[in-house]
């Protein structure tokens, strides 16, 4: 534990002692509402252990590293195409002979577009950010 001695001057010992007392007191008298929220936060975190991980984030050349960018590009393309079709669906397109031809296209609901774009669970993105941060820590160390 504490193998190094803290400063021994009486004044510094007093400061350390008072600080410990104040901080310990603040922990034992923590608001009930905050305690409940901390419990919820803890349970949510532990629940994350029960969800499977299916990628190897530390391997830069692993295909899973590129799923997110590729998925985003594909999803964005789908959204752009969908919006284009939706917009153009309300505008009749004339044929070369000058006779208007209405294109029967379905309007795509915005919620459907979100579903089309969403390729992974939110935790997937969260994991990548964390493991990229871990890689950075490795580089620093």
């Amino acid at each position: 534990m504490n193998s190094d001695k803290l400063p021994e001057s009486p004044e510094e010992q007093r400061i350390v002692r008072l600080s410990q007392q104040a901080l310990n007191d603040s922990v034992t008298t923590l608001d009930e509402r905050i305690q409940m929220r901390l419990r919820d936060v803890r349970r949510q975190a532990v629940q994350g252990l029960l969800k499977p991980h299916s990628f190897h984030p530390n391997q830069w050349f692993h295909p899973s590293r590129w799923v997110l960018p590729a998925g985003l590009i594909a999803g964005t393309a789908v959204v752009v195409l969908s919006v284009s079709l939706w917009i153009s669906g309300s505008i009749p397109s004339p044929d070369p002979l000058g006779q208007p031809t209405s294109v029967a296209l379905e309007k795509i609901d915005l919620e459907d577009m979100a579903i089309l774009v969403e390729a992974e669970e939110p935790e997937f993105y969260q994991n990548l950010e964390f493991f990229q941060w871990l890689d950075e820590q490795d580089d620093v160390s």
């Binding site: 534990m1 504490n2 193998s3 190094d4 803290l6 400063p7 004044e11 510094e12 400061i15 350390v16 008072l18 600080s19 410990q20 007392q21 104040a22 901080l23 007191d25 603040s26 922990v27 008298t29 923590l30 608001d31 905050i34 305690q35 929220r37 901390l38 419990r39 936060v41 803890r42 349970r43 949510q44 975190a45 532990v46 994350g48 252990l49 029960l50 499977p52 991980h53 190897h56 984030p57 530390n58 969260q126 994991n127 964390f130 493991f131 941060w133 871990l134 820590q137 490795d138 620093v140």
Partner: protein, 208 residues
């Protein structure tokens, strides 16, 4: 996935695969996190002076520990959690600096809130605390004021000094462990700590 199924967690650093029993690990993690959550929250409140931000930071740190280090030995969880918590606090401060710079730029450009006040964004945690010492004997009141002054002094420390002081004086970590938690050298820990003690001594003079 069945709870009784043993999961193979591939290493995140090329180490050997660790087989863990998920239900047992989940229980152990829950116990560990329950033992550290309040102190972690207090540390985060002292650093951010905002309870909501502190809760977010503690949640982030817990999630990172669970998702990244559940397969590690239980005795490693303490130092790992401290390292993750302090790093998450550092990240929070960095993001806040960037946000403040952008807000300053936007304000100058006429898009921001000219009356933006940083102090308003982070309510004083002492002011948020319920008044517990309204009717007390003078000696207890003096002691309570001293404690309130000390807490305020701790809040006002620069982040690195605050981290070094709390980890050494409150968590009881030695210099080496504190250096690992803070991601700095042992010399830096000693410097930050001594400056923190000096600042606190000066602040507490008013309450003698």
């Amino acid at each position: 996935m069945k709870l009784t199924e043993v999961a193979n967690f591939n290493s995140i650093r090329g180490e050997a695969v660790t087989d863990i029993n998920i239900p047992d690990t989940a229980k152990s993690l829950d116990r560990f996190l329950a033992s550290v959550e309040r102190r972690a929250f207090r540390m985060a409140v002292l650093a951010t002076q905002n309870q909501e931000d502190a809760l977010d930071i503690v949640q982030d740190a817990m999630i990172k520990l669970v998702k990244g280090y559940a397969g590690k030995s239980e005795q490693d969880w303490g130092p790992l959690f401290q390292r993750i918590l302090q790093s998450t606090l550092n990240d929070w401060f960095r993001r806040r600096k960037v946000r403040q710079r952008w807000q300053a730029v936007l304000t100058l450009a006429g898009f921001g809130n000219a009356e933006y006040d940083e102090a308003e964004e982070r309510p004083d945690a002492i002011q948020q605390a319920p008044a517990r010492h309204s009717e007390m004997p003078s000696e207890q009141l003096a002691s309570a004021q001293s404690m309130a002054g000390l807490e305020k002094a701790l809040q006002s420390l620069p982040l690195r000094q605050q981290q070094a002081f709390l980890l050494r004086a409150w968590e009881g970590l030695d210099v080496a462990a504190t250096a690992v938690a803070m991601g700095c050298s042992q010399g830096s820990v000693k410097t930050h700590y001594s400056r923190a003690v000096h600042s606190l001594r000066v602040e507490l003079e008013a309450y003698r």
